[in-house]
Subunit: 261 residues, 4 copies
């Protein structure tokens, strides 16, 4: 079979579309952001991507109907007058081998190039390994000019982070994108790395909205973040109680557990 | 060499054949069911499938003669008047890498499509991690209509099971089958997951017989199930004795071991 | 690059050649036997086989000159009147992945088929996991007739061994060989599985000589076996002494260590 | 996508160029040497090599700009009258799978063959597993004549080292190079194997300069080696103090830690 199979669901003409990528990864930040963006725009299904570099797996929906794991492209037509339509890439998995990552990314970029894509935004999480109260958004880009323009909207460029570079789709879409003549930006929301983090996804989308000059209503995402906060708080409280000294003295706040929230 | 090599043993014309797949997996339920079905129909050898995605292994028969590991297609011509002939796919292994799973499944589906297959039934086990006295048969399908028709013959559709979807051939034959325009159903017999389970294979075949409107004499399979039950009972009894207190008091039934049977 | 690259060193015409394969494996029995056979016939270099499915490695000879790891085919022209010339396949490695095993075996068989090969003998060790004083030679073959003829020269066919079949080149050359219309035999010398075993290789060659009706002077191989026996005996004796009780009583023979020899 | 993608940055005509390879490996000796050589000659960028056999990774520079991991060829035009121009191959990674190693090496050699390369020098470290005060340079070559000529400039050929041969790019460029009709030499600087070792890289470059009859100013490399020595010395001293007996007696030199320097 073809290594990567892209099924087009609808033929569309897009105005200088920009590709926004967000796949599963650290804190699921990228996937949360891309899926939320797709739902809120809302973007419409454009193409489904199957590959032997994904796991040999189907999901079963609540109605008992199966679907093969995939990545998916959706499109959004910007209002008249806007310069760029959007393509949003999300999905169940990144390629499960290094070679698979390259093959899938290259094929999707090739497909997007034919749709006129010249700019790529990749969304990801950046694991800090500690609690992150107010997630900053770190950046990396394909040109110094893009770096400068991102600094102006609050993206942080750190001399040391990410030290080992970017591994996986968010980096590869930029690195291989350059070979297609595409410019690109990676927006990385700080996150602890221990939890799915809608809070960090929100921070990333806030920056993306500024850069793309679009409106994204983040209410539902913030609500989801609060729910997760509450669950974490309950776990925190439960741990507090069990770790209290047997003398029954009131538990002192354990700051070292604060990161759970 | 070709990734997947299909050797046709006999040229046949089949009437709208339905593919039934059962390969090694959880409790070997799928393989037991498919092999039993093939022997009881009986189905005749149609094609042998070799692949570099199987282990590099030959089996040695009791007569000292070797054969290369393979999957195998057999066919059964239904009585005059019946709408569908059957194809039964069994074998020694599933592909041993994710890519191999995709490659083999796609090639076999392509081969079956040329034989006119438009419906696929995959047989599998569903590991409950606990004793299963009366195995239910869980289902998943490619369309809501199929789900409804399966419910009518007693197939259970659970909102939560299987939570992680289906991994391996039983899922992939449905997922990739859709790309060939095939409809499909997965029948999963509940099983503990710890033993080869002919009992669960029988439950799956009972449903399959209803759906396909064929007769399958399950006597031999039930006999096999009883034998395994007896062996398990003997292990159980032996464990009872060794775990008896030294005082010689009669052992109390250990319900927690009951699942062995 | 090509997956498997076969460089022919000399163009030869061979009379109905028989392929004898012996590559590294259990007790190195197959490789020891094939290398010894090649040296004693002596067989001349015919072709070198390189592959990306071998490790990315070169060996450095005592003279400082490197060579890339490979498999190697050598040929031997039988005396006038004999029916069959021989091809001997040896080498540094078997393919290091299952797919590599298939690819290399298939390409070598294809090459040999063009040279007129219709019979394959594969040489291997069979690990007994215990000392083997007088190694028997177990067999497996592609046809019942071959099995019968091997029994007559002392090859043992066991109903239970090898239970899991044959894994690796020795099995695959037979299994894939059948797809090339080749008949074949695997000769497996019993061995402990813990040591390189020239003794077992000798047993295999003794049978092979009978079957192929050739003379092989085994003196040097037996000498090598005796040397290894002596080393093992010395280790044995040393262990005896260190395990003696401190009372200084003479050590009793430790039968459980006897297998080292 | 292509397995290996070579992007030519400049079209050049080279005089019988010699390829010098140095990629990451033991003590990073090869990479340190090749990178230093490239900078000091200085050599100019000729081609960038991307591959799906590298990790799916981009590096982020201090300026926030990303680049895809790669290998890189640079060229140096020798002064008029010299027989050979140079090509220097460096990079971020070796291929991360055995097959990848073969594929990348073969493609680069093919590219270099088209540029007229007939000689290859590979630079590497040789791990001694102990402190190496004055690193010798071990050698291996494709012909006895090359071995003799290298002995004359001080390269050490040891009957036993490297016992297991050479694994990875430094060996493969020679082994596959022979299939392209190229002669070649591997220069291996002794190193402990525990640290990045510019000292050993210097020893390798000193030999290379003699062989290629070029001048390489090693001042900066020696400076770097001294810095690493100082850091190691400080670690050494710190360990001394913490391991001093509590009586406060002056610490005796711990010779067993001397290798850190």
């Amino acid at each position: 079979m073809q290594d990567v199979l892209i099924r087009t669901l609808e033929k569309v003409e897009l105005r200088q579309p920009i590709l926004v990528e967000g796949l599963p990864g650290v804190g699921n930040v990228g996937k949360l952001a891309a899926d939320y963006l797709r739902d809120k725009l809302p973007a419409k299904p454009l193409a489904t991507i199957y590959s032997k570099f994904f796991p040999p797996q189907v999901y079963v929906g609540e109605n008992g109907v199966i679907r093969l794991v995939s990545n998916d492209l959706a499109y959004w037509k910007a209002p008249a007058g806007a310069a760029h339509d959007l393509l949003v890439l999300g999905g169940d998995y990144q390629g499960i081998s290094p070679e698979g990552q390259y093959e899938i990314t290259e094929r999707v970029l090739d497909y997007c190039a034919q749709l006129g894509v010249k700019q790529v935004y990749t969304l990801a999480g950046f694991a800090q390994g500690r609690a992150v109260e107010e997630p900053k958004v770190l950046g990396a880009a394909t040109t110094p000019a893009l770096v400068e323009s991102l600094k102006k909207v609050g993206v942080v460029f750190s001399r040391n982070d990410p030290g080992g570079g970017l591994i996986g789709a968010s980096g590869l879409f930029l690195g291989l994108g350059r070979l297609f003549g595409m410019e690109g930006v990676c927006l990385m929301g700080e996150t602890s790395g221990y939890f799915v983090d809608p809070h960090s996804a929100g921070a990333v989308l806030r920056i993306l909205a500024k850069v793309l000059k679009i409106e994204i209503d983040l209410t539902a995402l913030e609500e989801k973040a609060r729910e997760i906060d509450k669950i974490a708080q309950r776990i925190h409280d439960a741990e507090q109680r069990t770790s209290e000294p047997s003398s029954g003295s009131p538990g002192t706040p354990r700051e070292d557990l604060g990161y759970i929230g």
